[in-house]
Symmetry: C2
């Protein structure tokens, strides 16, 4: 039995223990966006530190003004390549809670027609995914006593809340984080039999907008007519953000957005994406993005604008004829190509300020800002990883796009001057950020095996 | 001392007791729109029944499918006129709770630069107002042993939640409620020295609109672009409800809306309404209603459309890049003239259905529907009440409009075939339906005295 085979065998033998560890991790309520869960985030970081240490890493918890980072080193051979593995231990909020079939932080292994799944908040995003890499390292260490490459682990706890501490932390700790290439496990497979290396990520700009009209809530019988209603103002502004064809109307929004090269367009067409099934799965039938683009193009290569939340006035049981003092919306843009996040934020401010009627004021709370990324898939290391993945799964690996934003990839490039390779084992139906999030046991198991193969392939 | 003077004197002497009774009443959390407060509504009805009985009425609690009615009779002389007094014992919800300086259901008498006020939810709308009439009857009974007119009391507990039981109840109990004229105390003074008889009420149509896109909440990284966002759809529909000049764009909306007769326009101009102060009080400066109309005209004689509440997606702390499955808004229209509530509701349905994109569905929950009312101010009984009010207050009474909707006035006309006279002692700064609602002690005291005068004037 080759070294690789004996490690893979060890992964297979110890999967029940690995799952047990993951369930423990998933019980920790590390919701980073809500300050009420601060202690839970520290608990998750501490748990991870402990796990890394049992694998053989020298791991430490490093404080930030927000939630702490976990950094661990296991350096076997100064002449071997050095990889930085990034993941995040924080998770999304869980509301609407009533849509969960089981409590989000009481994870379990559930038998389904499509195989066993790990159910719970963070199962796929990103606790289950990051643990595939940790468990791969554990299996190699158990079987071989050393890793084929030098590994630095880097876990943050603010990915789901805009990563406010990430940039300063990375700038202050370049020496601790610098490696030859970064590996990131926060993306998905092409389908359940086809692994993927993600070659592009969309960037993001997010903004919270609060419009104030009258200085208190008013009665629409007494003031309805002469009083400006901030919900009406907000709705008009949000409605104006798209034109009839689905394009975003901000000044200069499409600056830096390039049409897709014909070669990549053909590559994507060859994937035979089943648009009908993709949309049908979530109850939709017609692509709602810009006219003239396929669904994959709309997700992977076109920018968007979406309202992620809105609130104002009375929305409880019954009716209340109130003219509210305030209305609020959370708006985000997904960016592609060379779109400049700051220019787009400025264009948004200008757009809103120009549309603000007399007697209304606006307050902004700026959140994420990150540009899009395209990976250097021609580098040999990508080809080696591609082969390693192809050995593990029924179908050959594909190079795919990704509609999400993983801002850290941009920072790894700009601060650490490193490329990133994005390999993940999530599936489209994992319901990340939604109620009843899950991660297939097969993703977890074969994901761990995939990392073992990739790590040996990198030497 | 005349009979009238001795009753007025008795009102002055017993005002501390009357205030104590009102504070007791205000402690009862009779929020009708929220089913959680069902028992509190019954408690308020029972309290009122008890008070009426102590005054000398034969009062009973009459069940409905919703909150109960309270009906009481005190008939002194078959040959005397017979009045029906209507009020409501339910109150508005109290959110946003954080804007109250004191808990809404711990009422107190507060000293302010403008005199003492009764502070608490319902102080003005409508518990304080209805108690002016109850206390007037009590004072007359105490001093004289009988009322100058026959009085039927009629209190409902669903006024703030669309009065679902009102019409069937009135139809089933015409004999118990029928009188010569109705008196309603749910309106305001022209200013703190000038009493008013309200001569017109706006009608109302209210609708809750829920739009569903995808069948679950989605991640905007995975679906942003091709997935229709129901918040965006809802905002577009709501934005389209007004044109640039502030007019409502529903088909046929202005059918039945007549321009104001020149005589009434002049009457209103003579009131010298201080638009700047009226708007300035709530932090506004520019009338936001239809162009070309004064503020009073916008409130009293023009119809409106307002969004009273909106919600969708994530609106908590931080940010969540969710594409929500649903978005909801509560929309209401204030009606004037002969606008037909059902036609307007149908036009709204048509308007929305026409704008619904593929993959979106809409669900409606219909609330209030009532037409506008104009009172027969030429009838002699109005002139007598006008004189009675003028005797009590520093300035002569005025005939004023009212922008609010008191649907019961329409039902009193259509079901009981009676006119209503609307006299109330609320002030513009009472903050009804808002945090920190209050009712001036002077309104309560002189309001009670006013009713004594009106009741003697009606004979």
């Amino acid at each position: 039995m080759s070294q690789l085979d004996s490690v893979l065998d060890s992964v297979d033998q110890t999967i029940p223990d690995a799952l047990k560890r993951l369930l423990e991790f998933l019980k920790i309520q590390s919701i980073s966006t809500d300050p009420a869960y601060k202690a839970n985030c520290l608990e998750a970081a501490t748990w991870l530190q402990g796990e890394l240490n049992t694998v053989g890493f020298e791991a430490e918890i490093m404080k930030t003004p927000g939630h702490p980072m976990v950094v661990g080193h296991l350096h076997s051979d100064p002449k071997a390549p050095h990889v930085l593995f990034y993941g995040h231990y924080d998770v999304q909020p869980v509301d609407p809670l009533n849509l969960w079939n089981n409590p989000p932080f009481e994870p379990s292994i559930e038998s389904t027609p499509a195989g066993d799944v790990i159910r719970g908040r963070g199962a796929a995003d990103d606790k289950g995914q990051l643990m595939t890499f940790v468990e791969a390292c554990r299996a190699i260490m158990n079987a071989d006593g050393k890793l084929p490459v030098n590994v630095t682990m880097f876990f943050e706890g603010e990915e789901e809340s805009g990563s406010p501490s990430l940039i300063p932390f990375m700038k202050d700790n370049v020496d601790k984080l610098k490696a030859d290439i970064a590996l990131v496990c926060d993306t998905g497979m092409w389908d359940s039999d086809t692994p993927a290396i993600s070659t592009r990520l969309r960037g993001m700009v997010a903004e919270q907008i609060t419009i104030t009209g009258p200085n208190k809530d008013l009665h629409s019988g007494m003031y309805g007519g002469p009083s400006m209603n901030p919900i009406r103002v907000l709705c008009k502004i949000l409605a104006d953000l798209h034109d009839e064809t689905g394009r975003v109307t901000l000044d200069g929004f499409y600056e830096g957005v390039e049409e897709l090269p014909e070669q990549i367009k053909q590559q994507w067409q060859a994937l035979n994406h089943d648009e009908k099934a993709f949309l049908g799965e979530v109850g939709l039938s017609v692509p709602a993005g810009e006219e003239g683009y396929s669904v994959l193009e709309q997700i992977w290569s076109r920018p968007t604008c979406d309202v992620n939340g809105i609130t104002g006035g009375y929305s409880g049981e019954g009716f209340k004829t109130v003219l509210p003092s305030q209305a609020m919306a959370k708006v985000s843009f997904r960016l592609v190509g060379d779109q400049n996040p700051q220019k787009i934020r400025d264009a948004l401010f200008k757009f809103i300020n120009e549309r603000l009627p007399a007697d209304c004021t606006v307050e902004y709370k700026s959140k994420d800002a990150s540009g899009a990324t395209v990976m250097p898939v021609d580098a040999p290391v990508f080809e080696r990883a591609h082969q390693a993945l192809t050995s593990e799964w029924p179908n050959p690996a594909v190079y795919a796009g990704c509609g999400g934003s993983i801002p850290v990839v941009g920072h790894i490039k700009s601060i650490l001057d490193m490329d990133s390779m994005l390999i993940g084992f999530g599936l489209d139906d994992d319901a990340i950020h939604s109620p009843n999030e899950k991660y297939n046991v097969r993703s977890f198991h074969k994901g761990t095996r995939s990392w073992v193969r990739v790590l040996y392939a990198l030497v």
